[in-house]
Structures are given as structure tokens and as C-alpha cells.
């Protein structure tokens, strides 16, 4: 079995160039191997390519790899449909993040794309499960209803709700990304500015030169939402929205196991719930930890057609 791997997921010795932090990691070779890679290596899977997520999806589409593992912070895996593939953004804590370049730690996940839900399921069986290196991983992926008894209902979201979720996601993502990127300081690894006059100058120049414009925007925004009283107005409010979303979804799923709809990527990321997209662009959210059942549900839908 072959797989394609996101460049933001490390394999010891390989170059790392997660797109957000590209320059600051110039010349940097991974000193560690991600848990998912280790598990795939142990299972005898072969690394087809270690590249960006678009290239990886193409590799799956062309049959060069059975599945691709890509970093996902807000439903990026939903792009699978554009390539005619299935995609899963797993429950938060289903797959170890160890070795994945962090941005928004509470929403970072490793997404899986493949031609069939069965292939995703097979990948998940290999890579999911408790890891001594990541304490947020849970150990009971098998829970959740069996697909036979799964009911599905359309989740109706008006534009205001979608936008509110997006803003909350953006605020939390910014705060956490700004925090995660503190380590790109040029002191221990990666790009270090020449001719710095002082320690402060070294930090300023190394980061100004090393981080991409996109990263800087996240850092500025993230610092803003954390600074002084802003934390109350921005981050804490965003976290309240997040809690409301989690509670609302729990309520929605009292009488149903699966919710279908559109624009579910961000909502799933905020709530830590698994979400699957089909090649036709249909999106399904399941209960937390019900990833395998959700994949089975999607596979059954495919059969039924």
C-alpha cells in the first residue's frame, strides 16, 4: 500500500516545509518521525510522496497512492471532492498529532483522503489510537452506533450561523497559531538573520525574514485577540461560540447519528467532530469518536446508489 504525506507531517531526515512557516524552516530536516508515519512504516506501507496537499490529492486521484494524509485546521480536507475523492477530517484526538507541524493546537488534525471510504477506513485502522506522545488521543475509536441503525438529518444553517462559526474559528485559529509560531525564533533551528545588533533585533529580523506574509497576518491577528482586554472581547467570546456550537450539535444528534449539509468543515473543526465529504460534495458530520461508523455509513450510501 502506498500513501502520500503532507510536507507538514514529519519523517525523520526529510525536509520540512509546511507552507505557513516555509522560510523559517529553510534547510531544516525533521529530527523526529510523526506517529502516523511510524505506524504506517511498521505496517509496511510505502511513502509515495511527501508533498503539499494538492499534489497529494492528485497522487491519489491518479492511483499513485491509495490514500493521502494532510494537515487540516479548518476543513481543508473537504477539497477532496474537487479531486473526485472521499475525505475524512477525524474526531479531534482520533489520530496522534505528534510530528505534525502545529498551528491551531485545539483544531489541528490529520485528514485522510482516498478514492473509497473503505480505503480511508483501512488507513484509519492503521494510524489511529492512543499514543504516548500525544495525550489528547482517545482510545475508543470503535464506539458510536453501527451504521445499520444510523439516521441522517439535514443540518440547516443560515448564513449568520455559518459566518459566526467562521469568525470564531478564525479568532481561535489566530490565537493558537500565533502561540505555536513563537518557537520560530531563529535561536535553535531554521532561519536566523545575519547582522543582528541585539537579541531583540535577532528575533525581529529572523521572524520578519523567515515567516511568510500569511503567517505574519495570523500572528498579528492572534496577538491582537489575546492582548489585554481583547482576550475577553475576542478569544473568550469565540470560545463561547465554540461551546454553543458543540452543545447545539449534541442536541441535534440526540435523535440522529449523522447530520448532512454544506460548509461543515469549520463547524466540525470547532466541535472536534468527524466529518466526511464524498466525491459528489455531500458532507456528513458524525458524533465524536464515531469515525469508523460514519465511514461505514457513507460506504453504505454508496452501495445503495
Amino acid at each position: 500500500m502506498k500513501y502520500a504525506l503532507d510536507s507538514g507531517i514529519q519523517k525523520k531526515g526529510d525536509k520540512v516545509d509546511a507552507y505557513e512557516v516555509q522560510k523559517t524552516l529553510e534547510g531544516y530536516h525533521a529530527p523526529i518521525t510523526a506517529t502516523v508515519v511510524k505506524r504506517l512504516e511498521e505496517a509496511g506501507a510505502e511513502l509515495a510522496q511527501h508533498a503539499g496537499y494538492e499534489a497529494n490529492m492528485v497522487a491519489v486521484e491518479k492511483g499513485m497512492a491509495t490514500f493521502a494524509l494532510n494537515t487540516d485546521v479548518g476543513g481543508e480536507v473537504m477539497a477532496a471532492a474537487e479531486n473526485g475523492l472521499y475525505g475524512l477530517r477525524p474526531s479531534y484526538g482520533a489520530i496522534s498529532r505528534y510530528g505534525m507541524i502545529a498551528s491551531a493546537s485545539s483544531m489541528d488534525a490529520i485528514g485522510v483522503t482516498a478514492k473509497t471510504p473503505e480505503d480511508i477506513r483501512e488507513a484509519l485502522m492503521l494510524i489511529a489510537g492512543p499514543d504516548g506522545m500525544d495525550s489528547t488521543v482517545f482510545d475508543d475509536l470503535a464506539t458510536g452506533a453501527k451504521s445499520g441503525s444510523m439516521r441522517v438529518r439535514e443540518l440547516e444553517l443560515d448564513e449568520v450561523r455559518v459566518k459566526t462559526a467562521e469568525v470564531a474559528h478564525m479568532v481561535i485559529r489566530a490565537a493558537e497559531t500565533a502561540s505555536s509560531y513563537y518557537r520560530y525564533d531563529g535561536i535553535r533551528f531554521g532561519h536566523r538573520a545575519k547582522d543582528a545588533k541585539s537579541l531583540k533585533d535577532l528575533y525581529n529580523k529572523s521572524r520578519a525574514e523567515g515567516l511568510t506574509e500569511d503567517s505574519k497576518k495570523w500572528i498579528l491577528f492572534g496577538t491582537y485577540v489575546l492582548l489585554g482586554e481583547n482576550i475577553e472581547r475576542c478569544l473568550i467570546k469565540a470560545q463561547k461560540v465554540r461551546t454553543m456550537i458543540i452543545e447545539a450539535l449534541e442536541k441535534e444528534m440526540v435523535t440522529t447519528e449523522v447530520l448532512s449539509g454544506s460548509d461543515l468543515g469549520v463547524i466540525a473543526a470547532l466541535a472536534g467532530l468527524p466529518v466526511v465529504i464524498t466525491p459528489e460534495g455531500k458532507q456528513y458530520i458524525g458524533k465524536r469518536k464515531s469515525d469508523l461508523a460514519l465511514l461505514q455509513f457513507v460506504a453504505d450510501m454508496k452501495e445503495a446508489k
Binding site: R97, S105, S135, T136, L226
Partner: protein
């Protein structure tokens, strides 16, 4: 002048927890004799993609430390990220419990009865160490990630002496509870002393300065006293006290300004989602509480009641093993014997020439026997000290004290017949003749001379009190 003013002190203390490994990585926590950067995991180095995994042992020790402070153990606590750029902080943020600390309100009672409230104590990781050379600095991350609890007191302290007493008591509480090894030389406990001065009776506190990173008790007292005088002088001169961080220089006996704190730093604290919230069960905490040893205040109360002198008690309390032993002695004997053992500990065992002895070696039974033998006149005070030290020799572990004293040939001669024979010998000596005459003429001094001869002849074993009685009887 100073009488007009009162000082108010609050103390923050960083306590290094005695775990084998770091707070969030499985790397050796003790780097005392190691090369720089020898104890550093990828996570301690903040390699991208690494994640923290909480060391449960640190949680247990934090709870022990918290219980020693009579602190409330919060069943729910959480870790936050505290951000700043400095090369000793590899990830750019310190994992600490800013919003929800593991230990809530507590209290420390000083030996003089003054009470100091504890605001809270939280778990956090230590930073690394920077060494500066001419135009460059080197970073050592061995200490980065070492588990600490930071204990924050209320501003309840009002004298430099109490500041020292509080620090000393904290040291005892942390070492007794096993939370910390208490090696001050290696920075196991580091104190930040916040001092402010205001006129007595004033409603508001003065501007405070923070003296950072003091690691000796005496320096705490000196630094606080110095700050008090400095603040008073400024106030008397109509100058403003600047809100700042200051450093203590032990050699000059002065504090010097380091960093102005006019504007509060913003560390952008927010929850670290990489570490799941810490949820403890009451059973878990109760189990730890049930295994807590006796604390200094417990021993202090008991020893005071037994009549041991306060100064002796405080010296003893710096040695948990000895305090425990004396407690056992008290349980099997009486107050008189206990006081004797306490004095032997402080006067002899803790004397410099006996440093390096294993204080666990002698059991309470042997110590009680020793004090009793001294009490009963079987051992002179000099011999008692010699036998005491011998009890701590590992070769003597199994011996009864009397057998050991006999083996050392130190038992006093209490047998009247034997003692009488020695006295007769001394009196028969020509050297004694004039002394005997003197005594008969009422010159008491001469008695001492003869006792000296008797002691010499008996090789120090004669009981001087009994010898005196017999001597006087013989001379008539």
C-alpha cells in the same frame, strides 16, 4: 525614623519538584553533574511537532506540597501558555497554571505564631539557563521543563525576620512532604520577595518592588531589611519609589534596579489545549493525604509541650529524620529523657565534626537507653557524647547501648567497693598528703584536686559525684 513606617512583604517561591523526569517529557530531571544540554528531549527543545505529556509524579508531589501548606487541592486544574521571547524559553511560551491552579488557599504558621496566608500554588515548567560571554551567550536547556510549583503568599509578612522565618518554614514543609529535595545551592527553591512600605496605619500599601531569585534564607532577611530602609529614605526625601524588579547582591549587601515594571507585561496567557485538563478524584487526593508524614508544626507542638527549648526545637526541625526520631523517643520515654536526647542531637550530633553521619542509623530505643544511662550516672557527659556518635557508626547498628558503652570501656565506676579501692590508693599516695590536710582545714578547693587524681587513676570512669561522697566520708 523607621518607626513611623511598616513594611508589607509577599513572597513567591519556586519549588523544584523531586521527580525523576521533567514535567512534560521523560527526560532525566537531575542535571547537576551533566554536560550542558545533555538532558534535553525534542520537546524540551521545542522541535515543531512535539507535544507535552504530563508527568503524573509531578502532580502527586504538587499535591503533597499543597497539603503541607494546608492548601485546598483543586480537583480541576488546567495548563496555560505564558508567552515571551527569551532564548532560555525554547517554545516561546511557558506551560503554567495561570487561570486554574492545582492548589488554592492555604496557610503557613511561623514558629513565632505569626500566620502567613497562601494565595495559591500552581504547577509550571522551569526555563533553561543562559550564560553570557563577551559578545555572545550560550543556552543550556537541561533545566528547561523541570517541574516546579510556584507558591504565592498573601502580603501578610511585616518584618524582615518573618520573611526569613517564612522561607525557612516553607523549606521544611516542602522537604518534609517530599515535594522537594531542598538543595538551595542548586536552586531547588528560589524566592522572589515583594516589599512595600507605608506609614503605620495607612489604608493603602506603598509602591512595591520585587527582589528576584534569592536562594538563601539569610539573604531574604537582609534584602528585605535593606529594601525597607531604602523605601523609607526615599519616602522621607519626598521621592517616589519606583515599581521595579531588583536584584540582591550578597557581597555588597544591596539591591539594584533591574527592570522597570511601570507598564505591566502582557504574556498573552490562554489555555494550552495540548495538555488535557487535569481532573483529579477525591479518592486520589485522599490517598495522598493519608500518606503524608508529620509536619514541622506537629513536632513543634509536641516538643514544646515536652519542655524542649524553642531554640533546640527549631534547630532540630531542620532535620526531619531527627525530629521523627525525637518524636519516637518521646513516645517510649518521658520528657526528661526526651530533652536530654534533643540536647544531644543539637549539641553533639549536629556539631560540625560529626557531619556526614547517617541520622537514621540510631533507633529511638538505643537513644533512649543512652540518655537513661547518663541520667543514672552510668555514663559521664563526655562518655555519653562518645557513645552517641558510636551509635551512628554502621558497625554498631545491632548493639544495645550498654553493651556498646562497655565495649568502649566507658561505663562509669559506680561500684562503691571498686571506687573505694581506687580512693584508698589515691589517698595513700604522697601527692595527696597536703591536700588531705587542706581539706581538714576546710579548704574546699583541695577536694577538686583529689577528685582529679581519682578520675585519672580510674581512667575517667569513676562517677565523680559518688567518688566525692566516698572521699569525704573516708577523710572524715
Amino acid at each position: 525614623m523607621s518607626d513611623k513606617y511598616e513594611m508589607t512583604i509577599g513572597i513567591e517561591c519556586h519549588v523544584q519538584l523531586a521527580t525523576k523526569t521533567k514535567l512534560f517529557s521523560g527526560i532525566d530531571n537531575d542535571a547537576r553533574d551533566k554536560e550542558p544540554n545533555a538532558c534535553v528531549s525534542p520537546g524540551d527543545y521545542a522541535i515543531p511537532g512535539t507535544l507535552p505529556v504530563l508527568n503524573e509524579a509531578a502532580v502527586g508531589l504538587a499535591i503533597r506540597g499543597g497539603l503541607a501548606l494546608k492548601g485546598k487541592v483543586n480537583l480541576k486544574s488546567r495548563f496555560d501558555r505564558k508567552h515571551y521571547f527569551y532564548p532560555d524559553l525554547p517554545g516561546g511560551y511557558q506551560r503554567t497554571q495561570f487561570f486554574h491552579p492545582i492548589i488554592g488557599e492555604g496557610e503557613v504558621v511561623l514558629p513565632n505564631g505569626n500566620r502567613v496566608g497562601i494565595h495559591h500554588a500552581h504547577l509550571e515548567e522551569d526555563a533553561g539557563k543562559l550564560t553570557h560571554f563577551g559578545d555572545y551567550s550560550l543556552v543550556d536547556l537541561n533545566r528547561a521543563g523541570t517541574p516546579l510549583i510556584e507558591i504565592v503568599s498573601h502580603p501578610d509578612i511585616h518584618s524582615a525576620e518573618d520573611a526569613r522565618l517564612f522561607a525557612e518554614e516553607l523549606w521544611r514543609l516542602m522537604t518534609y512532604s517530599g515535594a522537594c529535595l531542598g538543595d538551595l545551592y542548586h536552586g531547588n527553591m528560589r524566592f522572589d520577595v515583594n516589599v512595600s512600605v507605608a506609614e503605620k496605619g495607612a489604608k493603602e500599601l506603598g509602591i512595591r518592588t520585587e527582589i528576584k531569585n534569592i536562594n538563601s534564607f539569610r539573604s531574604i532577611e537582609r534584602a528585605a531589611a535593606y529594601e525597607f530602609e531604602r523605601h523609607v529614605a526615599l519616602i522621607e526625601n519626598g521621592e517616589a519609589v519606583k515599581r521595579e524588579t531588583r536584584g540582591w547582591n550578597d557581597a555588597t549587601g544591596k539591591t539594584t534596579g533591574q527592570r522597570s515594571k511601570e507598564t505591566a507585561d502582557d504574556y498573552l496567557q490562554f489555555p494550552d489545549s495540548d495538555v488535557p485538563p487535569l481532573n483529579l478524584t477525591k479518592e486520589y487526593v485522599d490517598e495522598i493525604a493519608a500518606k503524608m508524614p508529620k509536619l514541622p508544626q506537629d513536632y513543634r507542638a509536641v516538643f514544646r509541650e515536652a519542655g524542649v527549648a524553642d531554640k533546640t526545637i527549631e534547630t532540630l526541625l531542620d532535620h526531619q529524620v531527627l525530629a521523627e526520631r525525637l518524636g519516637q523517643v518521646l513516645e517510649i520515654t518521658d520528657m526528661k529523657i526526651t530533652i536530654k536526647v534533643a540536647n544531644l542531637f543539637v549539641g553533639t550530633l549536629l556539631a560540625e565534626e560529626n557531619s556526614g553521619l547517617n541520622y537514621r542509623a540510631a533507633s529511638a530505643e538505643r537513644l533512649a537507653e543512652l540518655a537513661k544511662m547518663n541520667e543514672d550516672g552510668e555514663l559521664s557527659s563526655t562518655a555519653t557524647k562518645q557513645v552517641l556518635v558510636a551509635l551512628y557508626n554502621k558497625n554498631n547498628g545491632e548493639k544495645l547501648t550498654k553493651a556498646l558503652a562497655k565495649e568502649m570501656n566507658l561505663l562509669q565506676e559506680n561500684n562503691d567497693a571498686a571506687l573505694g579501692a581506687i580512693i584508698d590508693e589515691v589517698l595513700a599516695d604522697k601527692a595527696a598528703a597536703s591536700a588531705i590536710a587542706d581539706i581538714k582545714n576546710g579548704e574546699q578547693k583541695a577536694i577538686g584536686f583529689l577528685i582529679g587524681l581519682i578520675m585519672k587513676k580510674s581512667q575517667g570512669k569513676a562517677n565523680p559525684g559518688r567518688a566525692r561522697e566516698l572521699l569525704l566520708k573516708k577523710i572524715g
